[in-house]
Each structure stands twice: as structure tokens, then as C-alpha cells.
């Protein structure tokens, strides 16, 4: 049809059942596993906070949206294992760009990013999340604020990925992203979809064999235990 062929292409779409639209507030499109959402401050299994008030996250933040002040742990009732704890912890979500650099900077994996980003606060005070709002509850789950829109199960898998691939140094996991274990969620299986296609030393078959199965869990379990002891 030459010039007029395009008219048939668009006309053929009329009345089709399949549409690209997601009816957003009613239903949500699935989010990628590594979406950067709002932060949580994690805790250990014994309820101790992981944050040690080192302010590295505040230092690395390019948007300068994190405010941390550390304080010495009370001797009789310590908040975190070790000497210091995060006394004040505030993140201003009007400035945060969700770059995840704070997560990378954190030495104790205290701050991670969840997948939740759908909030609409109506004043600036709500936009500044304080420690009470950021710290996870006793089960290790993020606390839902009134202005946040989550659905069932969206707070799952809130932990961020590890900074390094193959965190324990095992050659089988070269080029494979590992996840840190979090209270309430356990450890996620290492993810095999990054760098597989251009990994030189690791064959994809090896990754399929180990990734996402028992070995990976053990490996990372000890890894996070190490961190716990380090904190003490």
C-alpha cells in the first residue's frame, strides 16, 4: 500500500483485548528485583540495631539528604552491639535520589533500600523520615506510614544486593550478585542474571548449578554472621 499502509496498522489495533495500560492505582505492574525504594534500618536477630552511627552514609550521600548523629551506647541497655549507635537518623525524601550509595557505604549493612516508593506526603515534616519510621519492627519488616501505598507482599525482599559479586571469594560465584540476609526475610538466593552473558571464567552452567540452591545459602549465611561478630 506504500504511503497508506500505516493506516491499516493503526486501524488493526481498534477493539483489541490486549492493552499496554496497567490500571495503576487498582493494579500495579511488577517491579524489578533491584528497584531502589525507601530505606529501612535493619536489626539483628536479637533486636539490636545494626547502625553504629558512623555517618559514612551521610558523608557519601550526593543529595545530602541523610542526617546522622552517633552517641555512646548506654552501658546497661545497649541499642547496638559495640560502642556507638545511631542516636539521630533522618532521611529527607524530598531530596533523596535513591542512588543507593548509602547502602554501599554502610559497613554493617544497617541501611538497605526496599522496593516501596509510592508515597504522597502532604507536608514537609512527613517527607523527613526519622529513626522511628526507618527502623524495622521486631519481625524485621518495614513500618508502613499512613501516606505510603503498599500492597500485600510488596515489602518482601527489601534487602539490597551485596556490594561485591562473589562476596565470599568463591570462584563459582564470580560475576554473580549475592544478597545479604535480613531479619524476617532470610537470605535470598544469589542472582545469576548479571554478567552471565559476558562472564569469561565462569560458564553459565556452573552458575545455574550453584546459584539459587543450598550452597549459596550457606555461603551467605556465614557471611552475614561474620558481620555480626565484627560488630561485637
Amino acid at each position: 500500500m506504500g504511503y497508506l499502509g500505516g493506516f491499516l496498522v493503526s486501524l488493526r489495533q481498534v477493539g483489541r483485548k490486549r492493552r499496554v495500560t496497567t490500571q495503576y492505582p487498582a493494579q500495579k505492574a511488577p517491579k524489578p528485583a533491584r528497584v531502589h525504594g525507601r530505606h529501612v534500618l535493619n536489626r539483628y536477630e536479637d533486636g539490636m540495631e545494626k547502625c553504629i552511627g558512623c555517618e559514612l552514609c551521610a558523608g557519601v550521600c550526593p543529595a545530602r539528604c541523610i542526617f546522622v548523629r552517633g552517641a555512646d551506647n548506654p552501658v546497661d541497655d545497649p541499642v547496638s552491639p559495640g560502642e556507638r549507635f545511631g542516636f539521630v537518623y533522618e532521611i529527607n525524601y524530598l531530596r533523596c535520589i535513591h542512588c543507593d550509595l548509602c547502602v554501599e557505604a554502610c559497613p554493617t549493612q544497617a541501611i538497605t533500600e526496599s522496593k516501596m516508593f509510592e508515597f504522597s506526603f502532604t507536608n514537609r515534616e512527613d517527607a523527613i523520615y526519622t529513626k522511628a519510621e526507618l527502623v524495622v519492627d521486631d519481625e524485621g519488616r518495614p513500618r508502613q506510614q499512613p501516606w505510603e501505598d503498599w500492597r500485600e507482599g510488596e515489602d518482601l525482599l527489601t534487602s539490597a544486593w551485596m556490594r561485591a559479586t562473589s562476596p565470599s571469594g568463591s570462584a563459582a560465584y564470580e560475576g554473580v550478585v549475592g544478597w545479604n540476609g535480613e531479619l524476617g526475610y532470610g537470605v535470598r538466593a544469589p542472582e545469576a542474571d548479571q554478567e552471565v552473558k559476558d562472564a569469561v571464567t565462569t560458564s553459565p552452567s556452573m552458575i545455574d548449578e550453584h546459584g539459587g540452591h543450598g550452597h549459596g545459602h550457606d555461603d551467605h549465611g556465614t557471611e552475614s554472621d561474620d558481620h555480626g561478630h565484627g560488630g561485637h
Binding site: S10, V14, G15, R18, R19
Partner: protein, 401 residues
């Protein structure tokens, strides 16, 4: 001066004035509702063509979406830029929306035109046409109004005191003025065929059908070419895609209405869609027989309204279909199409048509006349091509800029 409407032919008493007033209110209301439905229709159809859903929350099938948008516009802050020329800035949207309203007043939207009826109806003992006004200048009024609308666009851009609106308005006025020539020349073909300027007369001349089934529409009587030219030129005149360079967001933000907000922007928006409806109605009037059509059961004037609405709706769908399919043309392509294709084509066709009618009146050999006319047209086309080619060569050589 008031033309052929029998309502105003005799004594003008209170009843006549009241009938005219009722007609004004009805046409005004219908046009507003039609515009609102057109915006909804366009959004719905274009989403269908683009595999989307479109508005579906406000009212059934989202039909009240436009109403919601309109209410929102009223409550928005009305900004006037500091460097704007205040008076002209406020005047411009009105210059754009008032012609859009006036344009519809000459469109016949109903009446019985079948079996030799002249489309008049009885209202409270008075005979009248189902159109607001039937001036003797008829279709010239439409051309005049669409020219006045250019002022709205141009002054809006100029008075904004900002560069993108200015560029956009210069583009818009250049585009509208150059396509008005093609538009006017194809209207001439219709006027030549129908023998009258009055829109009612044009519709009457298209009533009935040849051999029982081929409608006597001008689209056939003028030989299809003026219809195509008018259709393309009307899209350019309306600034609709693919000729919406005026509103090329990537280049010009929002063009002439960049600095407008609140209800002033809404006026431009309404004028644009109202012009789409009116232009479809004008095409129906000029080329597709207006409200003329067969009467099945019931009163004839109602069938006139139904045929008119059906034809307008089909045309509006085609408008949206074109928008959903064709990508925007470049500015030089736009000007090439206007000046080098549509204007020569409609001019040549008008001459050929005039020759045809003269030949019929004088009783010349029709075939021979058309053959000679066609040959002259071909020579003219070749000369035009040669002229364009020569000028291009000279431009490339750097003889002229």
C-alpha cells in the same frame, strides 16, 4: 443581507426574534456539548488506535473526563507573565475562541432535503431553516472567520513576551495563511459547481442522487481532487497532526499557548477542538451533502440531523485516525506540500472545472475541451516542475540565497 432564510423574509415580530434567540442558545449549547464529546472521543479513539485504554474513570467510559478537566482549569492559578503585553495577552484567547463559535452559525445541521424539499421546517407557525444564519456571503464568512482565528494565534505568541511562543506563533500564522490559499481554491470549485455561496444553497444543490444510488454530492461533482485538497488543507488549518508543527512540544514547548494557564489556556484548547468539529461539519456541508440523505421513517428534518451527525462522526474518526497514524512532517515539507503541490493542483483543477462548465454552457465538444484543458494543465505542471528544478540548481550553485 440575511440571505435566504424565509424566517426573516416577511415581518420580523417578537416570535421571530424569539425563534432566532432559541436557535442561538441551542446551537451554542450543542456546539459546546459536541466539543466536549469530541475531546473525549478523540482521546478514546486515539488510545484505541495506540493500544491504550484512555480516560475511563470519570463517568461511564470516562465520558465526563473533559468536564472534570474543565472544572480543574477554572480553579488553576491565572498567570500573566511580567513581560507580557497584558491587554493583547488577554484579548488573544478570545480572538481564537469567538471565531470558532461564529463559524458554526452558517452550518446547516438538519432539515428534510429529500424528494425536492428545500430543508425548511415549521417552528411555531414560522418557516425556517435548521441553521443559525444563512447569509448570502455564506462560505466566504467561514473563510473570513478562520482568517480572524489566525490573529488569535499570532497575537498570543507575540504578546507572551517569550521566545518559544513567538516562534510557534510565527510558524502557525505562516502555515495557516499558506494553507488558506489551497483551502479557498478548493472552496471555489464547490462554489463553481453549486452556483451559490450560501451554505444552504450548496446543500440543496447536493440533494438527490443520480441513477438512484450515487449521491449528488460535490465530492463527486467536483471530481474528488478539491475534496482531497480541502481535507489536507483543513488538517493544516486546524494545526492537527501531521501538520501540528505549531505545537511541536519537542521544539517549542507548547508553542503560542506556552505562557497561558488556567481558563485562558482552556479557551485555546476548546477553540482547537471546536474548530475540528466545525471543520468536519464544513467538509460535510461543502462536499458530502450536509444533512441531505434519504428519509426512512418519521419526520424528515430529524433524518437530516441524523445524516449530518453520522457524516460528521465518520469524518471526525478519520481526523483522529490520521492523527494516530501519520508522523509529523518537517517544516520545509509542510511548506512544499502547501505551495508546490496543493495550491498548483487546486488552481489547475479549478481552471479545468471552469472550462468544463463553460464548455457545457456553450455546447462545445466536451471530450475535446477536456483533452485540450488537460494538455494545457500538463504543460503548466511541467513548466512548474522546470521552474522549481531551476531554482534549486541556482540555489545550490549559490547564485541566490
Amino acid at each position: 443581507m440575511f440571505g435566504g432564510d424565509p424566517l426573516l423574509a416577511g415581518n420580523v415580530d417578537l416570535a421571530v426574534v424569539l425563534i432566532v434567540l432559541v436557535k442561538v442558545v441551542v446551537v451554542f449549547g450543542l456546539l459546546l456539548i459536541a466539543t466536549q464529546l469530541m475531546i473525549w472521543f478523540e482521546r478514546k479513539v486515539i488510545s484505541d488506535l495506540q493500544n491504550r485504554i484512555g480516560p475511563n474513570t470519570a463517568g461511564p467510559f470516562g465520558i465526563l473526563q473533559t468536564l472534570a478537566d474543565g472544572i480543574k482549569f477554572f480553579f488553576k492559578e491565572d498567570l500573566v507573565p511580567e513581560r507580557a503585553d497584558r491587554r493583547v495577552f488577554i484579548l488573544a484567547p478570545l480572538l481564537s475562541v469567538v471565531p470558532a463559535f461564529l463559524l458554526f452559525s452558517i452550518v446547516p445541521f438538519g432539515g428534510d432535503f429529500s424528494n425536492g424539499h428545500d430543508g425548511s421546517v415549521e417552528l411555531f407557525g414560522h418557516t425556517t431553516y435548521l441553521q443559525l444564519a444563512d447569509p448570502a456571503i455564506g462560505i466566504l464568512f467561514a473563510l473570513a472567520m478562520s482568517s480572524v482565528a489566525v490573529y488569535g494565534v499570532m497575537l498570543a505568541g507575540w504578546s507572551s513576551g517569550s521566545k518559544y511562543p513567538l516562534i510557534g506563533s510565527v510558524r502557525a500564522s505562516a502555515q495557516m495563511i499558506s494553507y488558506e490559499a489551497a483551502l479557498g481554491l478548493s472552496v471555489c470549485a464547490v462554489v463553481l459547481t453549486s452556483g451559490t455561496l450560501s451554505t444552504h444553497g450548496i446543500v440543496v444543490s447536493q440533494a438527490g442522487s443520480g441513477w438512484g444510488f450515487v449521491p449528488d454530492w460535490n465530492v463527486i461533482a467536483t471530481g474528488f481532487v478539491p475534496f482531497v485538497v480541502f481535507f489536507l488543507a483543513s488538517q493544516a488549518e486546524l494545526n492537527r497532526p501531521p501538520f501540528d508543527l505549531v505545537e511541536a512540544e519537542q521544539e517549542l514547548v507548547g508553542s503560542y499557548h506556552t505562557e497561558y494557564s488556567s481558563i485562558r489556556f482552556a479557551l485555546f484548547f476548546v477553540a482547537e477542538f471546536m474548530n475540528s468539529v466545525t471543520m468536519a461539519a464544513l467538509i460535510v456541508t461543502l462536499f458530502l451533502g450536509g444533512p441531505a440523505g434519504p428519509t426512512l421513517i418519521g419526520p424528515g428534518w430529524l433524518w437530516g440531523v441524523i445524516w449530518f451527525l453520522v457524516k460528521v462522526l465518520v469524518l471526525l474518526f478519520v481526523f483522529v485516525w490520521i492523527r494516530g497514524t501519520v508522523p509529523r512532517v518537517r517544516y520545509d515539507q509542510l511548506m512544499d506540500l502547501g505551495w508546490k503541490r496543493l495550491i498548483p493542483l487546486s488552481l489547475g483543477w479549478l481552471l479545468l472545472l471552469a472550462t468544463f462548465w463553460v464548455a457545457r454552457d456553450q455546447g462545445w465538444n466536451g471530450f475535446l475541451t477536456i483533452a485540450i484543458g488537460g494538455a494545457i494543465g500538463l504543460v503548466g505542471y511541467l513548466l512548474l516542475k522546470a521552474a522549481i528544478a531551476t531554482s534549486r540548481v541556482r540555489r545550490l550553485e549559490g547564485v541566490v540565497d
